[in-house]
Symmetry: C2
């Protein structure tokens, strides 16, 4: 299916190129239907007790060296599960070099982080905790701390009977919670289900451009609007940082400056944009793509000058805005003591 | 009434002193009945729109210079609306010298902050935002920023029609929200209403000691368990900080080292304790009072050696734990952009 969704829009793009005045039409496109439950690893079935423990850990600042930074500090539910900043702030309030990726729909990603260095949510969950630049808490110390909080023992026992408080159970619980942080039904989804009035004509035209003339679906494809791949799309540098991206993990030329394709669901909630937050608004991002990228060294072959008109850019932005669903409602836990 | 609650327990204490084996008895004590709605200033009536705006601002990190620290970062709903740390962490992750006071029941305080330097929630709300050590955002810049976020204009217009985005409306909205952060009904309250089984015998005995032998009610009196006064209760120093407390604002000898009497409702949720977080647990606090304080310079006349037995200390702790109500449920807002 991934292959066909990559090819069909290219054909559609060619068709549109010779028929620019074609009326916008709703796509039957099953591949854009909002995904159901995310995949779950065989050794970490989702249970209410695991989700509850994960939610508790996610909001607990004692998972940082300072006991002041929780997962939710940067993956802030009030800001689309990101932080609203160009690049993240970490331990000591040091400014880091990459934009905090939203947790939303991370459940479907095949690899986690901008450079894809973690293969699962379970692997990823411990990364920022242990990183000296981020939460700065050694995992042994994390386990000691959690064991010192009597209220945690029963939560772990209910979630992972007999397994105890350990890095592995912490990681699996947080991953279980993160699998509940998924986008709600959006106007786009309602339109796809047949409600012609769910989105405006601008969003409908924008979707045609998105999968046609602009060929955004070359990478932002399928239900989660991502190919789970890595691409150098010509993002301008910020503060002189030349980020190798995926190349640091997979040293082949195509990966130089390549970053993971993020989901576009709820994308309107997570400004600023790109791996380094260099673009403040969706409009700025679409304009960058229209120019064919801002840095042309090692550019992904999918990126080319589009010369969208201002009206077309408006339409694509309207389409992207139509991908915002009702916010995930997560109650703030009462942390154990 | 304040006068009578100060005198009666002293009499009761004397009575208990001569009759140590007196059976615990439930107090009719109207003064301990959970308070109804908090007082509201005439110029800031509580409306749903004001509470909603205040909630939004309370969770918005853009009210700090770094755009990373919100009111909720330190007044964390997951940690009893405090931060679980001995003393607060501020801008640049600098450790400050005082414990973050809980927002819970601040609605009833006659003065805000440990040193009482603000007379109302409205005054207080802007203090930490503008403080270079805390959120570090000048109020003019705060107003400019909020005006630059289009989604805020309608929230302000609904809350304060015609008044616009200004320091005064920000302060009043946050104060309106804070007046909703009040303790829920506790086991103690149910006991006071006549449910004899709502608390254990230990808590009942602890309450007798609290208002009798230990005379805690000399300061922790009435429905909110505070006299709204300032007292030097002999708290040990942390990190060599000699905190003048209320004396810095009211330079009379009795105020040297005196800090505000906090409410005890939900006190089990807000460890560590005292203005400098020097005591990790309620038991450590009760032990300190039993010793007659740890520093005896300029001690409040209400503080004296109590020599409570280990069992009596257990009972007072059980009573304090019975003051925890169901947590305030506050939904995380979606911040405007």
């Amino acid at each position: 299916m991934a292959l066909s969704t990559r090819i069909v829009p290219l054909v559609a793009a060619l068709a549109l190129a010779t028929c620019a005045a074609a009326a916008p039409s709703r796509d039957a496109g099953e591949s854009y239907v909002r995904p159901a439950a995310p995949p779950v690893p065989a050794d970490n079935a989702m249970t209410p007790a695991r989700i509850e423990l994960g939610r508790t850990l996610f909001f607990d600042p004692r998972l940082s060296g300072s006991a002041w930074i929780s997962c939710a500090t940067c993956h802030n539910p009030a800001l689309g599960w990101s932080d609203g900043l160009p690049t993240a702030i970490g331990n000591g309030m040091k400014t880091l070099s990459r934009h905090t990726p939203s947790i939303l729909n991370a459940a479907w990603y095949k690899r986690q982080m901008w450079d894809g260095r973690f293969a699962s949510l379970e692997e990823q969950a411990l990364g920022p905790i242990g990183s000296a630049d981020e939460m700065n808490l050694g995992l042994d110390e994390m386990v000691r701390r959690l064991k010192d909080i009597p209220g945690y023992a029963p939560l772990f026992e209910r979630a992972y009977p007999g397994e105890g408080i350990a890095a592995r159970t912490v990681a699996r619980a947080i991953a279980s919670f993160e699998r509940t942080v998924v986008s709600g039904e959006s106007p786009f989804d309602r339109w796809q289900q047949g409600d012609a009035r769910a989105v405006g004509d601008d969003a409908k035209r924008g979707f045609e451009i998105f999968r046609g003339k602009a060929d955004c679906v070359a990478c932002h494809q399928g239900a989660n609007f991502t190919d789970d791949g890595f691409h150098n799309v010509g993002v301008r540098q910020r503060d002189g940082v030349d980020d190798p991206g995926r190349f640091a993990k997979v040293p082949v030329k195509a990966m130089k400056g390549a970053h993971k394709t993020p989901s576009l669901r709820d994308v309107a909630m997570t400004a600023p944009y790109m791996h380094n937050g260099a673009y403040r608004s969706l409009r700025e991002v679409v304009e960058m793509y229209s120019r064919g990228g801002d840095v042309h060294d090692n550019l992904d072959p999918n990126i080319r000058k589009l010369d969208l008109t201002a009206a077309e850019i408006d339409d694509v932005v309207a389409f992207l805005q139509s991908l915002s669903g009702a916010p995930v409602q997560v109650a703030i836990p009462q942390l154990p003591n």
